[in-house]
């Protein structure tokens, strides 16, 4: 698994699609209102939205992903880094950030390669 993270709008998806010559039809975009990942796609984008859906339902995202870890072996997972900025006053947003943190720590350990994208530029950190 390749794990890509970075701030919002940093060009994470564009970078990895160009690097691996992938098309939009190979991308699954997670949605904030549905606990769903389509493991048949090569790229799983906006994982933070999947985690948001889990947060709303009170379900631990990490546990769901761990159950299907073998399906992630040859995948590219992209997640927004929401770890900076002030602590939110909103309870759901606080819980969301914590759950994204737990999920990313687990994925970071499992991934063979981890890349942070800064303003479109990749920085390989694992």
């Amino acid at each position: 698994m390749i794990l890509i993270f970075g701030g919002a709008f940093q060009g994470k998806l564009e970078y990895i699609m160009e690097k691996h010559g992938l098309e939009e039809s190979q991308v699954f975009t997670c949605k904030s209102d549905k606990i769903e990942i389509d493991y048949s796609k090569k790229i799983i984008d906006n994982l933070e939205e999947f985690v948001y859906a889990c947060t709303n339902e009170g379900i631990e995202a990490k546990e769901i992903i761990l159950e299907s870890m073998d399906k992630l072996k040859d995948k590219i997972v992209i997640c927004d880094d929401i770890s900076q900025g002030v602590v939110s006053l909103d309870k759901t947003e606080r819980a969301w950030r914590e759950m994204v943190g737990r999920t990313m720590l687990m994925l970071g350990k499992e991934a063979e390669e981890v890349i942070r994208v800064f303003c479109g530029l990749p920085d390989k950190i694992k």
């Binding site: 701030g7 919002a8 709008f9 940093q10 880094d81 900076q84 909103d90």
Partner: protein, 176 residues
């Protein structure tokens, strides 16, 4: 060599950029300009601007006020001089949210093209921007449109500049 410097807010980017610009001007014997982009709207802004002015005092900068239409400042200065452009963030804010008027949400692409041209016409510009993309808030559409617009300007400048640095509390990571 054109520079792009970004990083979290209030962590020493402006001061670092000033030092980079000053050094370039001394090494190459070039005039030193400061492009001021901020439009003060309250006393808090005035205090911040006065603090920046006093921090720059004695550094040898000639200050040009250019809060909008950024290419306009190039008619007033030696384009081969050292130009400290602080900040891309304020420029987009001024253009997208004009005081007392409706927001103009589609300006980012035009400004990206202007910044590309700015890079072509100048050799020693230091651009300063703000990395505002890692909060955990579900922002409203206006704020997200602004963040998306600023990210477009940042990515455009990263491509157009020769050197890219990220500043975190005085520490610098060179990305390019």
């Amino acid at each position: 060599m054109n520079y792009f410097i970004s990083g979290g807010c209030k962590n020493g980017k402006s001061f670092h950029a000033q030092r980079v610009a000053k050094k370039m001007s001394e090494e190459k014997g070039l005039p030193l300009y400061y492009i001021a982009t901020m439009i003060p709207i309250d006393n808090e802004d005035n205090i911040r601007i006065n603090r920046h002015i006093s921090e720059r005092a004695g550094w040898g900068f000639k200050t040009i006020e250019q809060p909008l239409d950024i290419l306009g400042c190039l008619d007033q200065i030696d384009n081969k001089g050292v130009i400290l452009f602080d900040s891309v963030t304020a420029l987009l804010m001024n253009e997208m949210f004009p005081v007392g008027r409706e927001p103009k949400l589609d300006v980012a692409e035009r400004i990206a093209n202007e910044l590309k041209e700015f890079c072509i016409r100048t050799d020693n510009t230091v651009f300063v921007s703000d990395y505002i993309y890692s909060d955990c808030n579900r922002f409203d559409d206006l704020t997200d449109k602004y963040r998306e617009g600023l990210a477009l300007l940042d990515k455009t400048l990263v491509k157009a500049c020769d050197r890219v640095e990220e500043v975190a509390y005085g520490f610098t990571k060179v990305h390019k």
